[in-house]
């Protein structure tokens, strides 16, 4: 694996810290596969630095209602691992935005870890986030991911000990995904995240020293992001984006509404 070629590594190398890196999560195949391609291409023009493309699973036990919903819609409409890889392939014809596939391990196992890593690499995937693979279980994925230059990004949570954070930092590639609150994915009410997050952020700063740090879970606005990610390299938004898609789809101009939301997330009210 030639690490400098990885688009995630390049992104963070280029990053001068003047603004926060923004990563968006969207569910592959929601509202439909072609829309996913169009959204990702549009994201790049609207300030998105990194894309986490969700691989839908029937039993998303770490996800809140929003991502459960988008996953169900995508599955009912017949999304498959092959189609997800085709989405990436189509994006790659026009864009070099870093793409991470995010999802539960079972569909990957069923596809075959070796075939999956090979095919993902070939279409231009840069990394993997598999929330139900903690470092203890990384063995079933690591060898093949390394072989095909896919970064495995691990998560740290508010209840992760200092010692364990360092261990995760050692094993993570690309960045460390910092889960700001305990619980499932989804936008939180009011200041819920900001209130409790500082102590966690301080511990992350102390213990995650090797990798860039991205914070996610519960962020729904530019203001949330600036507060919570003040000491981080960037932030991740998922459910709030999908809620926005759900609000406007399929009315005319729905994508423009989504892109306007994305610009506001990154730059604030203009």
């Amino acid at each position: 694996m030639i690490e400098t070629e990885n688009r995630i590594a390049q992104l963070f190398e280029r990053h001068d810290g003047s603004e926060k890196i923004m990563s968006l999560f969207l569910t592959a195949g929601y509202p439909d596969p072609q829309a996913t391609v169009d959204l990702i291409l549009g994201f790049e023009e609207n300030g998105v630095d990194l894309v986490e493309l969700g691989m839908p699973f029937s039993d998303p036990l770490a996800d809140g209602p929003t991502i459960q919903y988008s996953s169900n819609v995508a599955i009912e409409q017949g999304i498959t691992m092959k189609k997800i890889l085709q989405i990436v392939e189509q994006v790659r014809e026009k864009s070099q935005i870093p793409i991470i596939l995010m999802g539960y391990i079972n569909p990957v196992l069923r596809y075959g870890v070796e075939a999956f890593c090979e095919d993902a690499c070939n279409v231009g995937v840069d990394g993997l986030i598999i929330p139900d693979i903690p470092i203890e279980e990384s063995g079933i994925l690591k060898k093949e991911a390394d072989k095909h230059g896919l970064a495995i990004i691990y998560l740290v949570a508010p209840n992760t000990s200092d010692e364990r954070m360092s261990k995760i930092d050692e094993q993570s590639e690309g960045f460390v995904y910092c889960v700001s609150v305990t619980g499932v994915t989804g936008a939180r009410e009011g200041d819920e995240v900001a209130k409790s997050v500082q102590r966690f952020i301080d511990r992350v700063k102390k213990n995650v020293t090797r990798n860039p740090k991205m914070v996610g879970f519960g962020i729904k606005s530019h203001e949330d992001a600036q507060r919570i990610a003040a000491d981080m390299d960037g932030f991740i938004v998922g459910s709030a984006l999908i809620d926005t898609i759900r609000k406007h789809y399929p009315e005319e101009g729905w994508k423009d509404e989504v892109f306007a939301f994305v610009r506001r997330l990154k730059y604030g009210k203009q």
Binding site: F57, S58, D59, P60, L61, A62, G64, P65, Q68, N72, I75, T80, M81, Y104, I105, N106, P107, V108, L109, R110, Y111, P131, D132, I133, P134, E136, E137, Y154, L155, V156, A157, P158, N159, T160, S161, R164, I168, V179, T182, G183, V184
Partner: protein, 397 residues
């Protein structure tokens, strides 16, 4: 053959493990330490045994089924009477064990998932006994099918939360319980109802049920002057009653073990819960095990006439015992299970749970191959009162 699984990492061969979000790792580590500590602590054991004896009603009887034996005219059949446990099934052994552990760990909010409602009722019962707050997640569809158990739980002071996501059955109730758990890790103890989930749950639940097999061993000595039967039978959904009776006999190679899973309308149809017969390995609810899932790795809906066997997965230890062929797993259809209900009711005056009836139904196949000097022990895991609605709808008189 020495058997000392799981490994330190929670593996039974290639099955088991801890496939969970990072948030749960510290919780599972804390739980494992607390469990190991408690299990080896005499005062914990004393309190647990005391409750099993004085509250659950253990030891449960090992009943010689003379008319059932005569029916086949072959090996002697004994029934391990878990149906006589308080609340009507073996599930309470585990609920009592885990609630003692929760108290020891200072967790004062209990959550559980339930399918048929038996584990929910057992947990609600244990929580009432200890005056602890309890929330049970139950699929909205299951709540409809098992209204009586919903009422029982509510009467016991438990909040039953309907789960409307996914298929609205046990697997979705489990997802929802896990979502609650990751949100409230600090004060919440999740009482899992079977030998499924991430390590250390499969081991912990097994150990809380091994009393079934341990008692059987002693009772056989009294009844027959021998420690081991020739055949052991138990039904398998997640597999807790089966592992409870199998585990103390795994090293006794002369004991042939049969786990009976639910074929539903037939293992070859798409209305089945025959995980080991037709499933493929995968990860669901935190462990690697056999699963019912499609070629995309999406979990399929299970079907069984018995809500307690209606689960698309199975405990990882059963996957291991299947793969190594130590236990024979066979699939029993809904219709065969109904015949089993009738047979035990008419010959022994015991109305079995629909789950248990799957084990009884297999006697038709097994008994002709046995001989008169052999002994069969069947784990009568629960009583059938809860199933009378389903039974009366399906029975042909």
């Amino acid at each position: 053959m020495k058997y000392d699984l799981p490994t330190k990492e929670g593996y039974y061969g290639e099955f088991g493990g801890k496939f969970v979000p990072e948030i749960l790792i510290p919780v599972l580590e804390e739980l494992e330490e607390a469990f190991n500590d408690a299990w080896n602590d005499e005062s914990f054991q004393r309190e647990y045994r005391h409750l099993l004896n004085e509250y659950v009603g253990r030891p449960t009887k090992l009943t010689y089924a003379n008319r059932l034996t005569d029916h086949y005219g072959k090996a002697k059949i004994y029934l391990k009477r878990e149906d006589l446990c308080h609340t009507g099934a073996h599930k309470i052994n585990n609920a009592i064990g885990q609630i003692l552990l929760a108290r020891r760990m200072g967790k004062d909010r209990i959550i559980a998932e339930t399918g048929a409602g038996q584990h929910g009722v057992a947990t609600a019962t244990a929580c009432a006994k200890f005056g602890v707050d309890c929330i049970v997640y139950m699929g909205a569809e299951d709540m409809e099918r098992q209204r009586l158990n919903v009422e029982r739980m509510r009467l016991l002071g438990t909040e039953v939360r309907p789960v409307t996501s996914g298929s609205q059955t046990l697997k979705d109730a489990t997802n929802e319980a896990i979502r609650d758990w990751v949100t409230n890790v600090e004060d919440t103890f999740y009482i899992i109802g079977s030998v499924v989930g991430p390590h250390p749950y499969p081991k912990m639940v097994r150990n809380f049920h091994r009393v079934i097999g341990d008692e059987t061993r002693k009772q056989l000595v009294e009844a027959e002057g021998r420690e081991t039967p020739d055949y052991l039978l138990a039904c398998v959904g997640g597999g807790s009653n089966a592992i409870g009776i199998f585990y103390p006999f795994i090293e006794d190679e002369s004991v042939q073990m049969y786990g009976l899973e639910a074929a539903g309308l037939g293992a070859e149809t798409d209305k089945t819960a025959a995980t080991l017969s037709i499933g493929q390995p995968g990860v669901l609810h935190g462990s690697m095990s056999y699963l019912l899932h499609n070629s995309e790795g999406q979990i399929q809906l299970a079907h069984s006439i018995s809500a307690g066997l209606d689960y698309p997965g199975i405990g990882p230890e059963h996957s291991y015992l299947h793969k190594t062929k130590r236990v024979n797993y066979k699939a029993i259809t809904d219709d065969q299970a109904m015949e089993g209900v009738k047979l035990l009711s008419e010959t022994e005056g015991i109305i079995p749970a629909l789950e248990t009836a799957h084990a009884i139904a297999y006697l038709d196949e097994l008994m002709p191959k046995t001989s008169k000097d052999e002994i069969v022990v069947l784990n009568c895991s629960g009583r059938g009162d809860k199933d009378m609605g389903t039974i009366s709808k399906n029975i042909e008189h």
